[in-house]
Amino acid sequence: MYPYEGMFLVDPVQHAADSDRVEGTVKGLLEKHGAKIQQFETWDERKLAYEIKGHRRGVYLLAHFEMPGDAVDALHADCKLTEAILREMLVRLEDDIPTYLEKSAVYYEKVRSDHEIRRPGRREEGQEDGGREDALPPVD
């Protein structure tokens, strides 16, 4: 069992119609491959940087889980077969999940403070491009 971070880009139309079903599908896939989900979050719908399978917008699901290493390929294959999932990314974490979340919180704190020092008051600008600022990952 290794700690993984998984991000799934799902069809915004299907997610808007029935978010529980789409999220359930993703969770179901993970559990099917023996993953123990430790954290699961949904980001707001946001504009994609480029078109994927005819979609200009998408919903991101972010999961942190533990999974046996040999299930990774099978999970990728299953994601490709699931219509609701447009794209997926699995990253193996170096630390276990609680440590990772802690480190990530520290990281975001440091980085955000740096933004403030370098360009004070620039935060409002983010809202101009369609409120993308709001769609940033919540600081864990």
Binding site: M7, L9, L48, A49, Y50, I52, G58, Y60, L62, R87, M89, V91, K103, S104, V106, Y107, Y108, K110, V111, D114, H115, G126, E133, L136, P137
Partner: protein, 86 residues
Amino acid sequence: MARERRDKKRDKKKKFKRFKPRSCRFTRLRVEFIDWKDVQTLQRLCTGQGKILGRKRSGNSARFQRMVEAAIKRARYMALMPYVGT
């Protein structure tokens, strides 16, 4: 009016050409890794066209430049950042 604009442009060009030696922001902040989901930071390390800034422009240390590259490429794959600007 037009002249003003031209002057502004020229100033910009000058600024662009002259790099100030900068220290690595990540070394200074003492971060342990670079999160590929942190689009706000990664965007600052890209040009308007979406190209990754070189070490001379960004001032990153070799270690963090490697991490930044990997992070931006991951973000691009997930369509969080563009491969090419529009």
